[in-house]
């Protein structure tokens, strides 16, 4: 039977491949001897022992075949001899390649550092992703996120007004915490020394990290700003293999930093964001000279060493372990400073093995969190990480990466490990002894000394607790709690009622619609996976029902893989999305903000 003719897409991929070849890539393409040494280094292989297709060299061979068929002497003349006869020919073949390149590898680069030949297999997998992306073949999540990053300048589709609104909200929170407005977050402050670039996840799901960073900058007496544009340090170009997107995203940050005239970009804790902004972005965007940049971890460490901030490690007494982001550790050599900082701000650190450049992926790398179709496989591959964490006996897993926070969150939940996940900014902010920090010591003579709240004074953790419990940010609000699990409903109801809200419960989608009509809540806390009418269906119905469509919905789910499902519905997206287990304070402040934002819009 004769082979089908190459489709247009395949021809385009071959043309693109020729453009992307450089000496190092070609070295990796010709260097593999198929020795199989990379096999046992991959978390997908270790957790799928019966599936040989998980081996890294097989994944890299997909692009290697294309190369050999088109560029290698032997492959051009005798393709079958070197496996170059099995190149993709049809668009169906491209779907298979998509599943291999996106669904069986997180580009963690662990195979790269374990290859005796020095073959950079992860780079070859990224090359294949780029070839596929170039012809429009990619998982739907990658397409959506890439589109958002191209069009809105950030990968989570955060609108500029929402971003600014969140910064203002955090400024207000800080003012409430501190009792004065000195720590307000500066936006677009020309001539500041530092421009702080963050992960859009911080705006959308975890704004507390912005507040914590602002507190630290204030305490250190730093001259800093956040930009109104070019603030997203993440870069989906790294994941999709699209160097064009990678360059454009990084350039937004560099251009904004130059426009503001800052000395340095400080990159918040994000592994791939750090790698993309600090390193790869410089190359993708064709920068003649790299703009000065550093990770916020280095900034915080320097503040402590220079005495600009003072920390009390006893405020973080739990047993902690550290998870290295693959991008930080393997691709940026950034692994000692986070440990140094962690030791300074906590009292019980337990190393995880293997670690640093040899650590295993959290499973969320390579954009895996946005590809819900591969979630079951990804979670299975997380067994390696889960076992690593279990062996430490830690109560808290600390990581310097937002992607890892999500990836580890899924793994801990899936393997039922009762660990908290924190970032270094959380720990530093918690350990701050503000009254001994630079902002208090270096005040000009005669300047009034702001009072330091109890929560930020040394050994004041207990004293702070009642203050938090006593606050009622949801006073006068009505919250409908929808969840099929009674204990979770009870928990959520208790949290909301403690915060001053009036609540009502519903156990499935039908009850949710019914009670929404009668109770007229200010917000619905909605679980997604429920028997009968699911949360997804209930959500769509809410959005399509006159009188209910304006009610803000905060999804609270134990199935993070549903995120894509709900955002793909042809209706307005939910106002909030939180993963279980949910932190009480975070839930209350998040929900309060959603309701306030809705009020402001209505007014």
């Amino acid at each position: 039977m004769s082979k089908p003719a190459k489709t247009h897409k395949i021809k385009m991929m071959e043309e693109q491949l020729a453009k992307k070849l450089n000496r190092q890539v070609v070295g990796s393409l010709v260097g593999c001897v198929h020795c199989g040494m990379c096999n046992d280094c991959c978390h997908y292989v270790l957790t799928h022992p019966d599936d040989p297709k998980m081996t890294p060299s097989y994944k890299a061979d997909q692009v290697r075949k294309l190369f050999k068929a088109n560029h290698d002497w032997t492959g051009s003349v005798f393709p079958w001899w070197v496996g170059a006869d099995k190149v993709p020919l049809t668009d169906d073949d491209l779907d298979t390649l998509k599943d291999i390149a996106f669904g069986t590898c997180t580009n963690c680069r662990r195979c790269t550092i374990n290859c005796p030949m020095g073959v950079d297999t992860a780079t070859l997998n990224r090359l294949m992703r780029g070839l596929l992306t170039n012809v429009g073949v990619m998982p739907e999540g990658v397409r959506v996120v890439s589109k958002d990053q191209w069009e809105l300048g950030n990968q989570m589709g955060v609108l500029k007004e929402d971003y600014i609104d969140t910064l203002e909200w955090m400024s207000e929170e800080l003012e409430e915490d501190l009792g004065h407005g000195e720590a307000e977050i500066p936006i677009d402050k020309a001539g500041a020394k530092i421009m702080y670039a963050i992960n859009p996840r911080e705006v959308k799901y975890d704004p507390r990290t912005i507040k914590e960073a602002a507190l630290i900058f204030w305490a250190a007496g730093e001259d800093w700003t956040m930009p109104s544009e070019g603030w997203d340090n993440t870069n989906f170009g790294l994941f999709s293999g699209d160097d064009g997107l990678g360059g454009a995203s990084a350039k937004r940050e560099y251009d904004k930093a130059r426009e503001l005239g800052v000395d340095k970009i400080v990159i918040s804790e994000c592994g791939h964001g750090y790698r993309s902004t600090r390193h790869e972005g410089v190359n993708w965007s064709g920068e003649a000279e790299a703009f000065p940049m550093e990770s916020s971890v280095l900034t915080m460490l320097r503040y402590i060493k220079e005495g600009k901030i003072v920390v009390d490690p006893t405020k973080n007494p739990q047993r902690m372990t550290f998870h290295d982001s693959c991008n930080n550790a393997r691709s940026c050599g950034f692994y000692e400073e986070p440990r140094e900082l962690l030791r300074l701000v906590s009292t019980d650190f337990q190393e995880m093995y293997p670690n640093r450049a040899e650590g295993f992926c959290c499973t969320g790398g390579g954009g895996a969190m946005s590809m819900s179709e591969y979630t079951p496989r990804r979670l299975k591959s997380g067994e390696v990480k889960a076992n690593q964490i279990k062996e430490t006996g830690a109560e808290v897993v600390v990581t310097s990466c937002h992607n890892c926070v999500d990836g580890l969150g899924d793994v801990l939940k899936h393997y039922e490990i009762g660990c908290e996940i924190k970032q270094l900014v959380d720990l530093v902010a918690n350990a701050l002894v503000v009254e001994e920090c630079a902002v208090m010591k270096n005040r000009p003579a005669g300047a009034p000394m702001p009072e330091v709240p109890d929560a930020l004074k040394p050994d004041a953790e207990e004293a702070a607790a009642p203050a938090v419990a006593a606050s009622t940010p949801l006073a006068g609000r009505r919250v409908l709690v929808v969840d099929d699990e009674e204990d979770i409903r009870t928990f959520l109801v208790t949290v909301f009622e403690d915060a001053g809200a009036e609540t009502m419960e519903a156990a499935d989608g039908d009850e949710c619609i019914e009670k929404a009509k009668t109770f007229k809540p200010d917000l619905i806390s909605l679980d997604l996976s429920m028997p009968g009418k699911s949360g997804v269906d209930a959500f769509v119905e809410l959005r399509r029902t006159e009188g209910l469509q304006e009610i803000p919905v905060c999804v609270v789910t134990g199935h993070p893989e549903f995120r894509q499902v709900i955002y793909d519905r042809p209706v307005a997206p939910p106002e909030g999305y939180l993963n279980k287990p949910v932190d009480e304070d975070k839930l209350v402040s998040y929900v309060a903000h959603i309701i306030e934002a809705k009020d402001e819009k209505a007014n």
Partner: protein, 228 residues
Amino acid sequence: MHESSSLLHTAEVVHWAALIIMAVVYSLRLRWLFKFKPGADKSAPGNPNYTDKKKGAFYSLFNVAMPWSMESTRKGFTFYLTFVIFHIGVVAGIALAFLSTVAPNLVANPIFAWICGTSLFLAFLVAIYRVFRRLLKPVMKLISTPDDYFSLLMLTAWFGLGAVTQAHVAGVAGYENINLLVAYLFLTSFFLIYVPFSKISHYLYYPFTRIWIGRALGHRGSYPIARG
């Protein structure tokens, strides 16, 4: 070159001709490789405390002699040992082929003969193990091409023939069988011509791929690998 038989003389001439062909093809291979533009990392050094391109390159180039440097060789130490034996066998086989044409007396020296013959024999055993590994292990079957199988089978035959040839050249079997040496030289000649077109040419690329990845990760600060 000695002239104990015209057949042997022919084998030696073919062997040297094959060597020249291999050198020419290898030169063309390198020229081809270096025609691709070099990938440059314009970003600032990754971590001032650890960044060192030269150190990274040096570490990377010689990690073949540091089985502790990679998890794959640390945990798979037995496989690493077979790798060492296999490649010592390659060196012994090349030495036998070349020295038999330029220093036949040395090849017949008992000490040389024992070292070279033993190396070839052990490499032969390892090669047989590798053939079965490639044939039986699902992962290896999946990633193997005809070139992988052929190269390995030919090397297995070359090691085996080399070991027997060395034994006869040294008179270990009680007599010298010149025909074995002729066959060995012809097989080596075939190899010399085939190798630049096969996976066996990996050793040509090895220094480059290792130095390049070493420089790249050295610049970022992740090479040499630190453990704690």
